[in-house]
């Protein structure tokens, strides 16, 4: 079950065995973290909308670089916190998870899958709207930025779902 096979996995497990930071020990704290993650993802969609509306132009380029850059840096920090809070449930390989974590990972991926299907329909609708509002105008930059936004969302969804659903952790001191 939770047997590390390499030194790297051993170190990773040691980090994830530590206690969850106090501010994320409550449901409200964890859900605020998820909201922060969604805000980071929203930045990618802001740049997508700007690209569809203004690309090719300098404004579209600067807005995209700024939004995606901030989204990437802030998102990495927020998602990193989520990995610690969820103790790597969605990121660790299966052989490092126990049955509860494996089940939670499966549930998170199943929920994320349903959300991804909805997201794809929303993206199709948005792209159709972007293309028909200005003839057949579909800048290649906008297509790439849309793809990046979708990719980042799909990658982050299981972690967001797990963090949102997670029950309050059990304090270590209980054993004292």
């Amino acid at each position: 079950m939770t047997t590390p096979r390499t030194k790297r996995e051993e170190r990773l497990l040691a980090v994830l065995q530590t206690e969850v930071p106090g501010r994320y020990a409550t449901q409200n704290g964890r859900r605020n973290l998820v909201r922060a993650g969604i805000a980071c993802l929203a930045l990618f969609y802001v740049s997508t909308v700007v690209c569809w509306a203004l690309a090719p132009s300098d404004t579209a380029m600067y807005v995209t670089l700024a939004c995606d850059g901030i989204g990437l840096v802030a998102g990495a920090l927020v998602l990193g916190q989520m990995v610690v809070v969820t103790r790597g449930t969605t990121r660790l390989p299966d052989h490092l998870l126990d049955e509860r974590q494996a089940l939670e990972k499966l549930r998170a991926h199943s929920t994320s899958h349903r959300m991804t299907v909805m997201l794809l329909f929303a993206a199709l609708f948005g792209i159709e709207l972007g293309m028909t509002s200005d003839g057949d105008h579909s800048p290649s930059a906008a297509v790439v930025v849309t793809f990046v936004a979708l990719l980042v969302t799909v990658a982050a969804l299981p972690l967001l779902v797990t963090t949102w659903r997670m029950p309050d952790p059990i304090p270590d001191e209980d054993d004292a």
């Binding site: 079950m1 939770t2 047997t3 065995q17 103790r87 126990d98 049955e99 509860r100 974590q101 029950p167 952790p169 059990i170 209980d174 054993d175």
Partner: protein
């Protein structure tokens, strides 16, 4: 007299005595988790009734405490200590 049939509400609920047995034997949550090969939080969630174990894990827990599985797990709440309704 026949005992009441569990309702839909507690259909999924499995009551357990892990915390009592652990305290009785002086076993820490981490020690039990290591012996079972699970995360110590999983033991905590089991004790709080927020997670129901697989049959394999339930049998492992019973084996660890050297008691029959029905001593540790039950579909009905365990009687409280001092309760006359045993």
């Amino acid at each position: 007299m026949a005992r009441p049939v569990p309702t839909d509400k507690d259909k999924e609920l499995v009551h357990n005595r892990i915390a009592v047995l652990r305290a009785e034997r002086g076993v820490s949550r981490r020690e039990l988790a290591t012996a079972l090969g699970v995360h110590y939080q999983t033991v905590g969630y089991l004790e709080r009734g927020e997670y129901s174990p697989s049959l394999h894990l339930a049998l492992q827990i019973a084996e660890y405490f050297e008691v029959p599985v029905e001593v540790v797990f039950s579909l009905r709440p365990f009687p409280l200590i001092g309760s006359t309704n045993l």
